[in-house]
Symmetry: C2
Subunit: 360 residues, 2 copies
DNA sequence: AGGCCATGAGGGAACGTTATCGCAGCTTGA
DNA sequence: TCAAGCTGCGATAACGTTCCCTCATGGCCT
């Protein structure tokens, strides 16, 4: 085992086929001219040597690696793993591989990851940036001519394509649904990690409209929540906004407990992503609140357990796999010369009505 | 945007610093000799040019890519995404990146994936092989001196390290628990995709012992089930083995329905992985069977929803993240020259008793 | 004062490809 | 019969690194 013989190179092939490396390369790449006879000789040599071209060497000269860099927060989350699956499926169709990195929503890790991927000469980047307001590193990548596609968190500052769902509309629909069921105190669980967004009340100020692409997905979802209230003419009690420090389940559970312990506790709860959904639901479970009688619940992301619990959860579904597939597709199109201004691809969400919402 | 200027090379750095590329390379790599003055000049040049070494070119000469290839069935499954997270975490610590591929449990895809990764010159491979009996391609990789670490499905035929859990013991413990609660008709949900394993009764034959490393994880788990019965002197009714064609949730649900529709239906159900757990639980839910009164249930994998449903599910937990981390660690150790025969790392499982099992 | 050695730095080959260019030798047509 | 074109192939220069070797310089010891 572990025979130390180096694998055959194209020179070995050429020697065996009694041609020059140029000729061998030509039949391999199927370009230029060569006779049928030499083609066969080269192919035979390849066969008998078990020759496989060295992609690294090839990349040196072609200046492409046929590899896409993916930067996500945490591959073990159902959202990201679903998206990444979509990315790999689409990428593979076009002969691209995936180099994967996690950031845990940390901008510094993200910068490191991006640098690493660029150093490895990936042909393009697909990234869910940790902070749409801190994207200088992504702008830099773009300005060097590398293509970037964002997902989940579009940021117009990057000047890159992005694929997301219409977060505002999705959440607005859900909250409107809740409001139409008579709920007036609707709690929302959201992670506003970014300091400048923590003061979410200011989101209300600038028209509540037109600031897409400047805020993170969770802030956009909160915005949808606010707009639904505004549309219905219902005042929002700031204490109903359960803000968690970071993207973690325990934080969401904790915030939910606080929300539900308040004297004027909400009659309905809505969450802004899969972590929040899980944490919030856990907390509700612990408290032994009967759902939907004593509390209505709308989750974010159609996680597979949401149909398993009783009552089954009404949720906002994102087309997870498709988000990834479309992002990869767009990136590859760009690599193939697709020009034009950055495109914002907004995929539709589905509001799946199940059993966790009741009229108050 | 998209300035077409090529990024600076080490030659540019050398020119600006007024040294030779050799010298520039030396300070970059911090080897050989150079004066403090030139060190500073080179570093300054790097700084002002924003030079970043091209990993591809470096790989050409160093013959390493600092990249590990990962071959799994489906990154979107909670098991694999958890393992891959463990892999990336550990790999990153040592400066390795991850090239990710999915096989959907298809041996042909697996071969393609392995070839691709080898062509891309990954330093080593971490793979959950689709079929422990069809591993010629992995043997070949090993025999060319590339290191491979298997996970979830060890196969002694590969001659590679492997990290798994003790599937037999894990399942034996669970089933013994069920038996001790008086259950005599315990259904098991398992995917025996591989034809030669479909005739599982033959697993009983060869001693029921000593064939670790020759069978897939699910077969090993079935084996644990059989051994527990043998230990307790309880005969196994072959009709209690719910075999699904492939690794899919719907197949598991279907098999569960069949099992539960039988006149002499099982009083307990045990599953062999997360897909089976989900599918089986779905079917049980649909049938509105009261758990654990009318049916006891032991799931495989501590999925986060298993504590959310009522009753909470008693499960066999695998240390998912650690499986990945240990696999990566072992591979990196090998790359660092760790010699010795292939090691089989068996991580402990935990049997988490919750509320889904009752005495009959 | 002369020889030696340590120090610092440059030259250049190599890694395995791709692809441009030029050049024989042959065919073709006027 | 000879120019022109075409066909098939080889030489060779990249691509951006690393690192081995060689060499000049200067200081120190005897």
């Amino acid at each position: 085992m572990a025979s130390s013989a180096q694998p055959p190179t194209i020179h070995d092939v050429a020697r065996l086929a009694k041609v020059s490396t140029s000729t061998a390369s030509r039949v391999l790449g199927n370009y230029g001219r060569f006779s049928e006879a030499t083609r066969k000789r080269v192919l035979d040599a390849i066969e008998t040597l078990g020759y496989r071209p060295n992609s690294v060497a090839r990349s040196m000269v072609t200046r492409r690696t046929d590899t896409l860099g993916v930067v996500c927060a945490d591959i073990s989350s159902p959202f990201f793993s679903g998206v990444v699956r979509g990315i790999t499926d689409e990428a593979r169709k076009s002969g691209y591989s995936i180099l994967l990195t996690n950031t845990d929503e940390d901008v510094r890790s993200e910068r490191e990851a991006v640098n690493l991927l660029i150093d490895k000469q990936v042909d393009g980047l697909i990234v869910a940036t940790a902070d749409v307001g801190d994207v200088e590193h992504l702008r830099a990548v773009r300005s060097h001519g590398k293509h970037v596609v964002l997902f989940d968190r579009p940021s117009s500052a990057v000047g890159a394509d992005a694929v997301t769902v219409d977060d505002v509309a999705a959440m607005r629909e859900a909250v409107t649904y809740l409001l139409s069921h008579g709920h007036r105190r609707i709690g929302i669980l959201t992670e506003l990690r970014i300091e400048r967004e923590a003061d979410w009340a200011t989101l209300l100020r600038p028209g509540l409209d037109r600031l897409r692409g400047e805020i993170n997905a969770s802030a956009a979802r909160l915005l949808g929540y606010l707009r639904a209230h505004r549309d219905a003419g219902v005042e929002v009690d700031p204490s109903l906004v359960g803000r968690t420090g970071g993207y973690d389940v325990e934080g969401a559970a904790e915030a939910t407990r606080r929300l539900l312990a308040s004297p004027a506790r909400p009659t309905a709860l809505v969450t802004t992503d899969n972590m929040m959904t899980l944490g919030a639901y856990q907390a509700v479970r612990e408290l032994d609140i009967e759902m939907p009688r004593d509390l209505s619940f709308v989750g974010f992301d159609n996680l597979d357990w949401t149909t398993l619990v009783r009552p089954a959860l009404t949720v906002i579904e994102q087309p997870v796999h498709e988000i990834g597939a479309r992002a990869a597709r767009k990136l590859i199109d760009r690599l193939n010369g697709d020009e034009g201004p950055p495109e914002l691809i907004e995929l539709p969400t589905s509001f799946l009505v199940r059993e966790s919402v009741a009229a108050v």
